[in-house]
């Protein structure tokens, strides 16, 4: 903790704030009368909505059963021609049983230029938000540190539909731990900076593929 000197900017700013608001009335209370979700409580429809919204923002969406997952992962990597796959700790071994690509592990932690040389990264996620088409990573098991899903150009993300899909932002936040670093991903990196023409992929992975399993 910074110990402020007397008359420091900290004390001055706090004193100025107190002087500025001392006569202000207490503003009205916050009414949280907005919706908790904009969707009917129907898991099948939520899943369709998630798939549609992910695709709308240019993620490539796959759907399969748990039994099909290894083959789907194998096919995606083969079609892309990936030779190396970054695998964070905690990715279930059987997800990889359908592919022979070289696995790259993050220990000891890889330098950024090593991450840059990897073809693809495979992760799970913390949860997915249907209304916004968002995947949330929180550096939990099977996700790795943030740089792993940032530097490689191809991110393959598996969502367990049984317990990882929520309808809305208000439903997502209570399930997340603020002390963990989080990245919310809604489609691949994009820019509209030149004449408002949308271009997918600037600095993050230019291809985001999401597999909805279950």
């Amino acid at each position: 903790m910074t110990v402020p000197a007397k008359g420091s900017s900290r004390e001055r700013i706090l004193a100025r704030i107190r002087a500025a608001v001392q006569d202000a009335a207490e503003p009205p209370p916050v009414l949280r009368d907005y919706r908790d979700s904009h969707q009917p409580d129907d898991p099948a429809r939520l899943l369709d909505l998630l798939a549609a919204n992910l695709a709308d923002y240019r993620a490539v969406v796959h759907r399969c059963t748990g039994a099909e997952l290894p083959a789907v992962i194998g096919r995606i990597l083969a079609e892309r021609g990936s030779r190396t796959l970054l695998v964070p700790d905690g990715v279930p071994e059987d997800w990889l049983s359908g592919t022979a690509v070289e696995r790259v592990r993050d220990h000891p932690p890889l330098a950024p230029d090593r991450l840059d040389a990897v073809d693809s990264v495979l992760t799970g996620c913390a949860l997915a938000v249907a209304e916004t088409g968002t995947i949330v990573l929180d550096a939990g098991p099977g996700q790795g540190r943030r740089a792993l899903t940032l530097v490689p150009d191809h991110h393959l993300c598996v969502v367990r539909t049984a317990d990882q899909v929520v309808a809305s932002v208000p439903q997502a936040l209570p399930r997340l731990d603020p002390s963990r670093p989080q990245t919310w991903i809604s489609g691949p990196s994009a820019t509209s900076d030149i004449e408002l023409d949308r271009v997918e992929g600037v600095h993050g992975p230019r291809t985001l593929e999401v597999v909805l399993v279950g």
């Binding site: 704030i17 009414l31 550096a139 936040l173 509209s192 408002l196």
Partner: protein, 472 residues
């Protein structure tokens, strides 16, 4: 207020930029496109009005107890391994950041677009200390390489078209690092690829990153950055040291409050259900991201703004830029005309408050508006911009008295409009469509500065131009 510096070229810059028909065409295209998309994104949520009211109230309650929330934020950032610094003005913030960078022994930093660091002209201050700051947002890169100024909060290079961007990249990238590829074309995809290659080498070797933040959560010590391109993630994740410069008004009390603002901001700003990337971090994390995190809390005129009963609502602003895209004056005049890093309607009320109206230029800002009310309607935190404008006009006049400097400020704003026929046409058109919203009288002495009578001119019977000429 004398220490508050917002980095402002003088108002006459407007003349050159407005006469540029290409700029006007680009801006018109941009503002209309975003406006229509935004309306659709907002219409998807049938509880938008409730979200907007909640956003407004959360901000108002936060500002009322801003001291408590900042102290709590400081405690939680510190407990999570960060270091908190307090900067009363731009000079102090720049000094803190420069010293932190120097302490790392580095001479280069990568930066993610931030209004606060533009406001304090951090890049220039670092350059004076021999430190090079690389802007990494595509639009900011275009602005930086083109030795230019941003013209829009959200799309700062909207005044450049693809051919110009290609020329800037081809000519300038080599001076800053990896040159543009041979035979670079002008498709946005090719230009984005050139930026990716140019910046990647900088990201991969960067040791110090500098950012702002969209939100800070007091109860958890969490900072949030909302972005599209991934350059933010690069700057927030890869360097060993991260320095975030954030205005004190960006704090929110609770984690839950984000459920309101993460719905309001993306839809209102880029017209998306959610922007591609949002990063959250709380202090430092073992083995993930920067080992050192510094938060610089910036006042720079915000406490002055907070002291103004009417004007303090400007501190609710979440910088979505929706008010720019609906403003008839902005659409015709362009962002450079406002002469500060905050253009458009929000700039017209924020700049004079942050910096005061001591200069004739700043005193004229509250007058460069039509009071049509479109900015208020679209604002996701319900800032009544016309109300603040009228209030600031009153202040200018009350302090200086009618005539003299005030008159000059009004004349200045008025002649600025007359110099820009397209802007004036828009003003007239909007004014006639929104007659019901105009006060028949401007409060107190302001009106005397505009006309001899205290009545506002009838619109549109007395065309503005004629009325103006007669009344001079």
């Amino acid at each position: 207020m004398s220490d508050t510096y917002l980095g402002m070229p003088s108002f006459p810059q407007a003349k050159a930029s407005t006469r540029d028909t290409r700029l006007r065409a680009n801006l018109t295209h941009a503002t209309r496109t975003i406006r229509d998309k935004r309306a659709r994104a907002v219409a998807e949520l049938d509880d938008w009005a409730q979200l907007r009211e909640a956003g407004k109230r959360i901000k108002d309650r936060t500002l009322r107890h801003l001291d408590d929330h900042l102290v709590q934020l400081e405690q939680n950032v510190t407990a999570a391994g960060g270091t908190v610094h307090w900067a009363a003005d731009a000079a102090e913030a720049n000094r803190i950041v420069a010293d932190l960078v120097k302490a790392t022994g580095e001479r280069e930093v990568v930066k993610v677009k931030s209004m606060a660091t533009q406001e304090i002209e951090l890049n220039e201050a670092l350059a004076a200390e021999g430190i090079t700051a690389y802007e990494t947002d595509l639009a900011e890169l275009i602005v930086q390489l083109g030795e230019d100024r941003p013209s829009h909060i959200l799309v700062p290079a909207i005044h450049r078209n693809r051919g110009e961007v290609r020329d800037i990249f081809a000519a300038k990238m080599g001076e800053w690092g990896r040159p543009a590829p041979e035979g670079l074309g002008d498709s946005p995809a090719e230009l984005a690829e050139a930026a990716r290659l140019h910046l990647r080498e900088k990201f991969l070797r960067a040791k110090v990153g500098i950012s702002g933040a969209n939100f800070m959560v007091a109860e958890t010590g969490t900072l949030v950055v909302v972005e599209s391109e991934g350059n933010g993630r690069m700057c927030l994740t890869l360097p060993e040291t991260l320095i975030s410069v954030v205005g004190i008004e960006k704090v929110l009390p609770t984690w839950r409050d984000l459920e309101v603002f993460l719905q309001l901001l993306p839809r209102s700003s880029t017209a998306e259900r959610m922007n591609p990337y949002t990063s959250f971090w709380t202090g430092t994390s073992d083995g993930d991201g920067p080992r050192n995190f510094h938060l610089v809390l910036l006042d720079n005129g915000r406490t002055d703004t907070l002291a103004d009963e009417v004007g303090r609502q400007a501190l609710r602003c979440i910088r979505c830029s929706a008010c720019l895209n609906v403003c008839p004056v902005y659409e015709r005049a362009g962002g450079h005309a406002y002469g500060s890093v905050y253009p458009g309607p929000i700039g017209a009320i924020l700049t004079p408050q942050l910096r005061g109206t001591a200069s004739a230029v700043d005193a004229s800002l509250p007058f460069a508006s039509t009071l049509c009310g479109a900015c208020y309607e679209v604002c996701p935190v319900a800032i009544d911009i016309p109300e603040v404008l009228v209030h600031l006009r009153e202040q200018v006049v009350e302090r200086d008295g009618p005539g003299h400097r005030t008159e000059r400020a009004v004349v200045r704003a008025g002649s600025w409009l007359l110099d820009h026929p397209a802007a004036l046409g828009a003003v007239e058109r909007w004014a006639s469509r929104t007659r019901g919203l105009h006060p028949r009288r401007l409060p107190t002495a302001v009106a005397r500065a505009w006309t001899d009578s205290r009545d506002l001119p009838e619109l549109p019977e007395a065309p503005f131009r004629d009325w103006w000429r007669k009344s001079r």
